[in-house]
């Protein structure tokens, strides 16, 4: 009896296996069966493409303020995927930290390895999780190295208040005042440095945001060894100003440490839309 069952099961499995090859049904989910996968963070600004320092044709936010962008950098980390049938895969943390830079087009892909499969959901953290933010210096390699970048320009590490800047967004707008509230150097610069992971011991502001994207509508990710599956997201930087907590540059030209940073973090959580998937 048992043998018969075993026989049947084997036959069915074989049959299914045969089918899957023909119709490209998702292969069995095996954690060790890794294939290339990426999410593309394609920055845009409202209805327009992203460009740095385009003083000839500045952008305009919902408040009617004209602005240009001089720097855009943000961390994407802790990538996680879910298959059609609900299996989840979390990319090993050590290979799951990326910095997307507006001045480096190549940085827009977060290239990882995940098991072959059909994925309907991806999620990621904007910023650096609290656990990694408190890890010893040995666990801060690559984009997490406090020495990466210059602290006065493109650095993403806060030395005096140990932690990472999750999103650094700087630019210029004629609405920025020349006083201490704006830019006393007269360069009309605005600066948004959003960080805060929740504190080492006592709880502080926590601006770590997790974004989950459903891929069903614009195309699921079919990850296979012989191709590069790429989930192409549009990242609308305009949402920093025009999100649910919309604000004026003139009123808040510098946001770094303070409760207002949490409103901006809520805004940028809505930057991401799934445009299509390249399989």
């Amino acid at each position: 009896m048992k043998r018969t069952i075993l026989y049947f099961v084997t036959m069915i499995t074989l049959a299914l296996g045969a089918c899957s090859k023909k119709d490209d049904v998702a292969p069995d989910f095996k954690e060790e069966n890794l294939a290339p996968f990426s999410i593309e963070f394609d920055n845009i600004v409202g209805d327009r493409t992203f460009s740095l320092n385009n003083t000839g044709s500045p952008y305009t936010n919902a408040a009617g303020e004209k602005f240009t962008i001089s720097r855009l950098q943000y961390f994407i980390s802790n990538i996680k995927l879910t298959t059609v049938s609900g299996q989840t895969y979390t990319v090993p943390q050590d290979s799951s930290y990326f910095m997307i830079r507006g001045d480096d087009r190549a940085s827009r892909f977060t290239k990882v390895k995940v098991p072959e499969g059909d994925y309907t959901k991806v999620s990621f953290v904007i910023g650096v999780d609290s656990l990694r933010s408190t890890m010893p210096v040995d666990k801060r390699k690559g984009v997490l190295d406090p020495a990466a970048g210059d602290h006065q320009t493109d650095g993403m590490y806060w030395g005096w208040n140990s932690g990472y800047i999750f999103l650094k967004f700087e630019g210029n707008s004629p609405v920025v005042s020349d006083d201490a509230n704006g830019d006393p150097t007269g360069k009309k610069q605005f600066k948004y440095h959003i960080g805060f992971f929740g504190g080492y011991s006592a709880p502080t502001i926590n601006n770590i945001k997790t974004v989950t994207i459903d891929l069903n509508a614009a195309g699921i990710a079919k990850v296979r060894k012989n191709r590069q599956s790429n989930v192409h997201l549009f990242v609308d930087i305009m949402k920093v100003f025009n999100g649910k907590n919309s604000f004026k540059i003139a009123e808040n030209p510098n946001v770094m440490f303070g409760a207002f940073s949490s409103l901006i973090a809520e805004n940028y959580t809505a930057m991401f839309t799934h445009d299509h998937t390249e399989n």
Partner: protein, 348 residues
């Protein structure tokens, strides 16, 4: 029985001393004691298992500590504001003095018993010794340099390539070996041989004078709840009632943004007070007497004043001139001349 034991120990001690004197140079070259917890200290907070102190690592850390290339214009080393003879503070300076004569806003704290610290800086914000050096290195008014530039400067020097190789197995200079080396030097800056320590460890012949003993009793009654033994700080952040200074330094608040942290500063250790003046986060008191008088009569009821400084509606801690004399006598037993003269910790 007891006295016989003592005699044996005494004789053994003499024997060891004699040996040491004979082969001092040999001993120095061959033996590396590494990090040793003083008998009267608790277990360290610093995770030594993640960064065991080796002779090579310590020597590299020491070289880096005294290396002016850590500042942008190669003029200021860590050791410039943390001078050993002042128990690794900058004696005579109320606030730290950086490159191009720039002035900071806070008094440079001693590099002393840092392995027992769970938070760094007067205003907190840093909780891992391995990440602390980033703050003074990158601060505009201190060393104003980037880590990457430092690594490039050191990488060009055969001396450092060899030292990094010897300490960490690779000539490549980066954040991990750089920070670990500095920590290895800093955790070795242990002050534990003051008269107080010798009395507590019941070392031969060590005892308080009557005045010191009375001061010790007063200290336990009036000071020890924050400046707890044996480190003489409980490592907490408190508002000790200083009048708010002209720059309105808000202490721990900017790091946590919690109203309850306004004007709280790290409780400093009372060890080596004779060498570490001026006192307080902004160096406002030039003498110990000024500090004691603050607690006696100048405590102000600013937000988050520590409740210990406002008991039954009375501000401060009453100290008569007799009390002050006794306390001063006791506090001077916390001076550690071995620490400030330890050749191992000096620039070589």
């Amino acid at each position: 029985m007891n006295s016989r034991h003592l005699t044996v120990i005494f004789l053994l001690g003499l024997f060891i001393l004699a040996c040491k004197k004979d082969g001092l140079v040999m001993e120095k070259a061959e033996r590396w004691l590494g990090f040793k917890k003083p008998a009267n200290f608790p277990e360290p907070v610093y995770k030594l298992a993640n960064n065991p102190v080796t002779r090579e690592g310590f020597e590299l850390g020491r070289a880096l500590f005294y290396e002016p290339r850590l500042s942008r214009d190669n003029t200021i080393a860590c050791g410039s504001c943390h001078i050993q003879s002042s128990a690794f503070t900058q004696h005579g300076h109320d606030v730290s003095h950086g490159i191009e004569d720039r002035l900071g806003t806070r008094n440079s704290p001693p590099i002393m018993n840092l392995a027992w610290n769970k938070a760094f800086m007067w205003g907190g914000g840093v909780y891992d010794l391995d990440l602390q050096p980033i703050t003074p290195i990158t601060a505009h008014e201190e060393m104003d340099e980037s880590l990457a530039n430092i690594y490039a400067k050191l990488q060009a020097m055969p001396k450092y390539r060899a030292m990094f190789k010897a300490a960490f197995g690779s000539e490549e200079i980066g954040t991990v070996p750089f920070m670990k080396a500095l920590s290895q030097f800093m955790v070795m800056c242990i002050s534990s041989n003051s008269k107080y320590d010798k009395v507590m460890r019941k070392e031969a012949g060590a005892s308080f004078t009557a005045l010191e003993q009375e001061g010790y009793m007063l200290f336990k009654e009036k000071c020890a709840s924050c400046h707890s033994e044996p480190l003489f700080t409980d490592g907490s952040f408190r508002n000790n009632g200083l009048g708010i200074g002209p720059i309105n330094d808000q202490g721990l608040y900017p790091a946590t943004l919690k109203e309850t942290d306004l004007y709280r500063f790290k409780v400093p250790s009372l060890r080596n007070l004779s060498y570490t003046g001026p006192y307080m986060h902004d160096g406002r008191f030039l003498t110990l007497n000024g500090v004691l008088e603050h607690y006696n009569a100048e405590v102000q009821d600013t937000p988050n004043l520590d409740p210990r400084l406002k008991r039954d509606g009375v501000l401060g801690i009453r100290l008569s001139s007799d009390d002050k004399m006794k306390l001063t006598a006791f506090l001077s037993t916390l001076n550690d001349t071995e620490f400030i003269n330890n050749k191992l910790l000096a620039e070589q």
